[in-house]
């Protein structure tokens, strides 16, 4: 069932993403062609491609949040909640489809950049490649010095990806509890939660992490990993509770 839910969520998300992806890739290819022919038009195409690529990543993440709201809390919610699927599976599917859409957005952005890079003059391309090489060498040195760091970093990235999405999902789930101005309330809760989280991170988490980093960098990383994982789990179960016990379908 999760697979089917993801399939239908991706179909809904890719209606827009496909359109913007085509634009981003099209502009990148045109910019590359104009670069070869020496036309001054290439800069315009380059900027357009860049904008389209950024818009793609924005639409991929924002689109999945909008999709979460529309499919669960508007009229469509009646259909979603009449499916023989548990709330846990619904949530997992929403989360995975949003992550897939965001990753596709990032992938298209990288492809666009590679197309544009390939049109750069040889010297500029060489200096760019040297920069990338140096970066990887530095990372390699760091990893050979302490391989555990790489595992911890990857773990931290994996845990961080759903955190932002879950935070927005939770804010929308709280917003739907109101009978009027639900979108407005959701925005207000999003702003408020961001302020609170930033204050907590800046004044509580970061001083602790800094102290731990002086003792042992692993301890600092694990502290962040545990806090982020705790937030992921907390958000998930709160949303699950709100959807299964406090669902407020209007229309």
């Amino acid at each position: 069932m999760v697979g089917k839910l993801i399939k239908h969520d991706l179909i809904a998300l890719f209606r827009l993403l496909l359109f913007i992806s085509c634009f981003a890739l099209g502009f990148a290819i045109l910019a590359r062609i104009f670069m070869t022919t020496g036309s001054s038009f290439w800069l315009f195409m380059f900027i357009m491609s860049l904008w389209a690529s950024i818009a793609l990543m924005f639409v991929a993440s924002v689109g999945s949040i909008v999709r979460f709201y529309k499919s669960l809390f508007t009229g469509q919610g009646y259909m979603t909640f009449s499916l023989p699927v548990s709330v846990t599976k619904l949530l997992i599917a929403k989360l995975l489809s949003a992550i897939i859409a965001t990753l596709v957005g990032v992938a298209v952005f990288i492809v666009c950049m590679l197309i544009l890079m390939s049109g750069l003059p040889a010297e500029q391309l060489q200096s760019f490649l040297d920069g990338v090489k140096t970066l990887f060498q530095n990372v390699g040195v760091m990893l050979s010095y302490d391989p555990l760091i790489s595992i911890e970093t990857i773990l931290l990235i994996i845990i961080s990806i759903p955190m932002g999405l879950l935070q927005y999902y939770l804010c929308l789930s709280i917003g739907q509890l109101f009978s009027k101005h639900r979108v407005g309330w959701s925005y207000a809760i999003i702003i408020l939660s961001n302020i609170v989280l930033n204050i907590l991170f800046a004044y509580c988490l970061m001083p602790i992490v800094d102290t731990f980093a002086e003792i042992n960098p692993h301890l600092a990383l694990w502290t962040v990993i545990i806090v982020f994982a705790g937030l992921d789990v907390g958000y998930f179960f709160l949303i699950r509770y709100l959807l299964s016990h406090k669902l407020n379908l209007l229309v």
Binding site: M1, K4, K7, H8, I11, A12, R15, G75, Q76, G77, Y78, M79, F81, S82, L83, P84, V85, S86, V87, H245, L247, L249, V251
Partner: protein, 303 residues
């Protein structure tokens, strides 16, 4: 109501209670909002005026809880069901059971608690107290597999084409019959490639009904299926419901348009201010009161 009238009504009630099966507490006794008094007053004079020679006429209160004939397990059951929203009582001490088979009408004016009851049956809400059972189980995602639900809202995905919506249903409901849906849509002239947002309101309602009735479910819950459509569309909707109902399935139909659905109902439940005001087979209502369901409804819910 003055004291004299009240005592006269009480006398009639005492006399009738000896003839009728043991009744549940009346709506007035359980009334959370105290609005049932008015209805009681409307019914009382008719009861006191009847002569001994005249054939016995029952009121809606007499049919408060005529249990449905049991022909197997109950598909839907409510026991002391209450649902409160903050300070508002949407449902109060609702008790009834619906056996498998038949077409049951959940009837009541707007705001009587019909949609709340349906949401509870779909597991979209949780009771404040009491319980509701669908096919013997507390409503959850598993009971949704045997329940086909038509909500009273535009629940279809506007951006989808008709064929995509069909594919969606086919993906999630193993009992969904794609061929049946396509056949009904073809008869109606709705193209599979048509965008749902381009359909008229009536056609959207019909599409929703077709998708719901194309399932082979045990229980069909239809929330206001004929509200907001023209009389011709109502006829189509009712004939579609009748033609596609599996023999052993139950249709739980909620509406306030009694006259239109009366011919198809086998059992009626009147909901008034969140309480059951009548629970009786339709034939029994006609036989005992000498009135149609529509007439009785107008009497019970008179302002």
């Amino acid at each position: 109501m003055n004291k004299k009238e009240a005592s006269a009504e009480e006398a009639v009630r005492t006399e009738e209670s000896a003839e009728l099966p043991a009744a549940e507490p009346t709506a007035t006794e359980n009334e959370p909002n105290g609005k049932a008094d008015a209805v009681q007053e409307e019914v009382a004079p008719a009861q006191t005026e009847k002569s001994e020679a005249a054939p016995k006429r029952y009121s809606a209160d007499d049919l408060f809880d005529c249990a449905m004939p049991i022909n197997g397990e109950n598909i839907l059951e409510c026991r002391g069901l209450c649902k409160m929203y903050s300070n508002f009582t949407a449902l109060y001490q609702v008790d009834f059971s619906i056996p498998k088979g038949g077409i049951v009408g959940l009837l009541g004016p707007n705001g009587s608690g019909k949609t709340t009851l349906i949401k509870l049956a779909m597991g979209m809400l949780h009771p404040t107290s009491g319980e509701i059972l669908v096919d013997g189980k507390t409503p959850n995602y598993k009971t949704r597999a045997v329940t086909a639900y038509l909500p009273d809202a535009n629940y279809l995905c506007d951006w989808m084409r008709v064929e995509q919506q069909i594919a969606y249903y086919a993906d999630f409901f193993p009992d969904f019959r794609k061929d049946k849906a396509q056949e009904m849509l073809a008869r109606l002239g709705i193209g599979l490639k048509q965008k749902i947002k381009a359909l008229s309101k009536g056609n959207k309602e019909k599409l929703g009904l077709i998708l719901t009735m194309s399932r082979t479910a045990k229980l069909y819950i239809l929330d206001e299926p004929i509200a907001g459509v023209d009389p011709a569309a109502r006829d189509y909707i009712l004939s579609t419901i009748m033609a596609n109902k599996p023999e052993d399935a139950t249709i739980f139909l909620c509406t306030h348009l009694i006259a239109d659905i009366e011919p198809v109902l086998t059992h009626a439940i009147f909901l008034r201010n969140g309480q059951v005001a009548l629970n009786s087979p339709v034939a029994e209502v006609r036989e005992k009161t000498g009135k149609s369901l529509d007439e009785l409804f107008r009497e019970v819910f008179k302002w």
